[in-house]
């Protein structure tokens, strides 16, 4: 097997298949083959395998094939680039032995999407079997650099210096208990988990969430919050602990407020004990101090919700170490979608880095009327709220005397372009967190791909650099983009529901 040279002009591709329903059952893999690809037609089904594999770009290779079906008289083999509408510069020679054969002298002279076509003729008829070659390894050096920036995963992390109980097990347990406690709402019926349900990837599946009343925005997932710079769709909070106070203050959400929350913790034996274990002292008489501490315990719990590895991470790491076999496991459609994501789509410009977000805010051309006559100002309102809030890194509740993480708050600037901007969300586990955008206006990932494909550029201001462009993606390209996004999601059940059943805080 030829080695794939990462830095050279060699591009390798593994053959992928356009599969009919379980064709392998009718046409088993030829004896002695490992790898190879299967393609089913009406008359014949073919197994084929490039040699060397993966296919190098700019070097000759051969294809071995085996057909299942009626007798064959002649087989032609050629390559085709459907996006460029041209084929190879070489006409391969085919030798046939019954239903098996070899084509020699093929050469893909440029990187990109190539199809391999077997033109099969026999007494029963003629059929062209078209297989997609998977351009797994034909990323340009620039694309490769961009892909590698999305890892490795998981990220290293350290405790939040603004939160003195960050990372402490007792605080994590206390925070978990608080998260599921509906007594932290005015009605006694709404908990954090009402809108952030663990078995729904910490969302509620609704376009706009309903706490005690319907709110203006979609409940985002709670994964990977510890890596955020700003919190909430508008970034009105600069810490996770401050963000946790927001629903407790907002009467549409839970609204218990500092006094109600502190009284509950002081009066409930379990919560009072949990507080004491987390913070090393019984809840004091200062309601606001106790209230903020609840936000910090909740933050300690939420910091633990970090997504696991995904098929994309396996591919990305295989790409990093030049492991062609590892890369070949990544689906062809996802590879094409990834190329769009880091290339023409320019998605990685904002959905940057291992968490797939630059942590900032953007106007993605999504209307932001809440209802007729009322607008969600987005980031513009968030910065103004931040400046009014006592619960920021610049305030007295920051446990870090050095204010070592406060630069974001100290230097943030209010801009006219902030009006209508919303946080660029991370994309890990994105397939589990529908609906999408700040008010859940797009039901599916396919809808998101269509939004950017048909983007109304006139909604975006014409001044300055135009990052977003109408992408005009074909249906297949949109499907590829979705296929890629789905590989950012962990495989298998998340087991987040287990979070609901905690032990008693104190016995």
């Amino acid at each position: 097997m030829a080695r794939w040279r990462l830095g050279g002009p060699v591009l390798a591709a593994a053959l992928a298949l356009v599969l009919a329903a379980d064709p392998a059952a009718a046409c088993p893999r030829p004896q002695g083959w490992t790898g190879g690809a299967n393609i089913a037609g009406e008359l014949w089904t073919a197994w084929w395998r490039p040699e060397p594999a993966p296919i190098p770009v700019g070097a000759h290779f051969s294809v071995r094939f085996h057909l299942c079906g009626p007798p064959v008289g002649r087989v032609g083999v050629r390559g085709w680039m459907p996006d460029h509408r041209h084929g190879m510069n070489y006409r391969p020679a085919v030798t046939l032995d019954g239903l098996s054969g070899t084509a020699e002298g093929l050469l893909f002279h440029m990187p990109g999407r190539w199809q391999l076509i077997l033109d099969v003729r026999g007494a029963s008829g003629r059929e062209k079997l078209t297989g997609e070659t998977a351009p797994a390894f034909d990323f340009t050096a620039r694309e490769k650099r961009r892909i590698l920036r999305h890892g490795p995963w998981p990220l290293a992390s350290k405790p939040d210096p603004s939160n003195r109980v960050s990372g402490k097990p007792a605080a994590i347990g206390f925070g978990r208990a608080l998260f599921f406690d509906p007594r932290l709402s005015l009605s006694g019926a709404v908990s954090c988990a009402t809108c952030h349900q663990p078995d729904r990837a910490w969302t509620d599946g609704l376009p706009r969430s309903r706490g005690q009343r319907i709110v203006d925005r979609n409940a985002p997932s709670l994964f990977n919050l510890r890596f955020n710079r700003w919190f909430g769709w508008d970034g009105a909070q600069d810490t996770l602990w401050a963000q946790n106070l927001r629903p407790l203050l907002d009467r549409r959400e839970m609204g218990v407020g500092p006094g109600g929350a502190a009284r509950l913790v002081r009066s409930d034996r379990q919560l009072s004990c949990g507080y004491r274990r987390a913070f090393g002292a019984a809840p004091g008489a200062d309601d606001e101090r106790v209230f903020v501490d609840l936000g910090k315990a909740l933050a300690a719990f939420l910091e633990t919700r970090v997504t696991g590895r995904t098929p994309f991470d396996d591919f990305r790491d295989a790409l990093a170490r030049g492991d062609a076999t590892g890369m070949a496991r990544y689906p062809a459609a996802a590879r094409r979608g990834l190329r769009l994501f880091v290339g023409r789509g320019n998605c990685s410009f904002c959905h940057f880095g291992p968490a797939f977000t630059n942590g900032e805010f953007a106007d993605a051309g999504v209307p932001h009327f809440v209802e007729p006559g009322r607008v969600d100002p987005g980031r513009h309102g968030g910065i103004r709220e931040l400046r009014r809030s006592p619960y920021t890194l610049l305030g007295r509740f920051n446990d870090d005397a050095e204010r070592s993480t406060a630069a974001r708050t100290r230097y943030v600037r209010l801009r006219q372009s902030n009006f209508g901007e919303f946080r660029v969300p991370g994309l890990r586990n994105v397939a589990l967190t529908a609906p999408y955008m700040h008010a859940g206006s797009l039901e599916t990932l396919a809808g998101v791909a269509l939004h950017y494909s048909t983007l109304d550029e006139e909604r975006l201001h014409a001044g300055g650099e135009r990052i977003l462009r109408r992408l005009d993606l074909s249906a297949r390209e949109r499907a590829d983009l979705v296929a890629f996004l789905e590989t950012l999601t962990e495989k298998g059940p998340l087991h987040e529901s287990a979070m609901k059943t905690g032990n008693a805080l104190c016995r």
Binding site: G373, P377, Q416, E458, H461, A462, G464
Partner: protein, 279 residues
């Protein structure tokens, strides 16, 4: 010409003003030189509702242009003392990039100029490489024939191109060209009939303080700067009042006379020679 010496002198002069001379801008009326009431906004709320928003923001005047002209006409009919109608060469917002190559735009403009009264043409998007094209040249010619202000979203090259075609033109440079004061200043120095609007700009003020390089520009050209909201989406109509308040906040950091000029007097002076077109 806008020289560095003049720039520094202006800056120093502003800095030496006693604090008592600084006016509080909270009560200033505003001439908003950059309002659109395009088809998508006009489909969401009525002209009366739009006028109520402008009045609530305490605007003295609003230079209004719209993609799809109906919005401008409806606003002008609803509030002729408040609204200054400007003819935009776009029938839909999507024509921002295509109008310069679309001869039917000329038919549209000629028809509208005949049928209605205007004070300006624009806001149009025109860049240096496009100023020689037939459609923008004819548009500028129409403006000349009817004594209309030109509201140009342009780079500096296109502004030069407009004045090359029509040296007596009066031009409002939208967004101050999205360029820094060291580019705006020389342009204002070069073209005596050039004004700027600061719509969708944020760099000139922060936390109620005017940045030094902009302060120098304002002091050097006190009669040539205006402000504007730019309601380029329907949602931004709900930003008009907030923008006016923000503007008053940073204007309060300037000497009263200068603040008043930027707030509304410059806009009034800029538009005055064109008001006869409305009679």
């Amino acid at each position: 010409m806008f020289s560095r010496r003049r720039f520094l002198a202006a800056s120093t002069g502003a800095a030496l003003l006693p604090s008592a001379a600084r006016a509080v801008g909270a009560s200033l009326p505003i001439f908003d030189a950059h309002i659109h009431f395009s088809h998508d906004a006009a489909g969401l709320f009525s002209a009366d509702e739009a006028v109520a928003i402008l009045e609530k923001a305490r605007l003295k005047r609003a230079l209004v242009s719209s993609s799809g002209d109906a919005g401008t006409r409806a606003l002008y009919a609803a509030a002729p003392d408040l609204v200054l109608p400007s003819l935009r060469p776009y029938r839909r917002r999507g024509e921002i990039g295509s109008w310069v190559d679309d001869p039917s735009v000329i038919d549209f403009l000629e028809d509208r100029v005949k049928r209605f009264k205007w004070v300006a043409v624009g806001e149009f998007h025109l860049f240096a490489s496009q100023t020689g094209k037939a459609v923008p040249r004819r548009m500028i010619e129409l403006a000349r024939q009817h004594n209309l202000l030109l509201h140009a979203h342009s780079d500096a090259g296109a502004i030069d191109g407009i004045f090359a075609q029509w040296p007596e033109a009066r031009v409002l440079w939208a967004h101050a060209g999205f360029v820094d004061p060291d580019v705006v200043g020389p342009m204002l120095g070069k073209h005596a009939n050039l004004w700027t609007d600061l719509a969708f700009r944020s760099e000139h003020a922060h936390g109620g303080r005017v940045e030094d390089d902009w302060r120098s520009l304002f002091a050097a050209f006190p009669d040539r700067v205006t402000v504007g909201t730019d309601t380029f989406t329907p949602e931004r109509w709900h930003y008009v009042a907030r923008h006016a308040d923000w503007t008053r906040q940073w204007l309060a950091d300037l000497p009263h006379d200068l603040a008043e000029k930027i707030a509304w007097r410059n806009g009034e002076a800029m538009i005055r020679p064109h008001l006869a077109q409305l009679r």
